[in-house]
Symmetry: C2
């Protein structure tokens, strides 16, 4: 499998690992979500590289329908938002037309 | 870094690798997108595990504003949709309201 395919499989596996501790293996309950965030999204080396506002938004928005249950769809969107926050911090906000000529 | 953090970094790195072949390093043009899909999302072992409709939708929806340029935001959403397609094929469609009472 390619690097991207492996990353996708890893996202699913992390969700499975944490969602699988109660009877509903397809949803993260509040405790499972807390455990996931603590273990998987708390490395300072990573956090330092993600736009703070984006990270906050991604994590607060994770349970959009506020039922205390996070589906894989909600989780995968959160991961997309976090990766966008990582990209944004690295490259700056999307504007910067001035640098168009640099190679 | 955790498994999830590494997956997020990998998604950014794959985008960078393919977006970096022309002057606009922050967007995938059509050729770059084609090269990325060919090299990174064509492994039969992976494709077999993704819901076909979801994969089609994810890849067709990648350039939503149809400007021939794929931003990281669009790309990360596509990756989220692909991972959802992978999850869905593994666990079946989200329905099963009958089980609402289970813990």
């Amino acid at each position: 499998m390619s690097k991207l395919e492996k990353a996708i499989v890893a996202i699913v596996e992390v969700f499975e690992e944490y969602a699988g501790t109660d009877e509903d293996k397809r949803k993260l309950n509040n405790a499972e979500l807390g455990a996931l965030i603590k273990a998987q999204l708390s490395c300072p080396e990573f956090k330092d590289k993600v736009d703070e506002g984006d990270a906050k938004e991604a994590l607060e928005g994770i349970d959009k329908n506020h039922d205390g249950q996070v589906s894989f769809k909600e989780f995968s969107k959160c991961v997309a938002n976090l990766s966008e926050g990582y990209f944004k911090k690295k490259y700056g906000k999307e504007k910067g037309g001035k640098c168009k000529h640099h190679k």
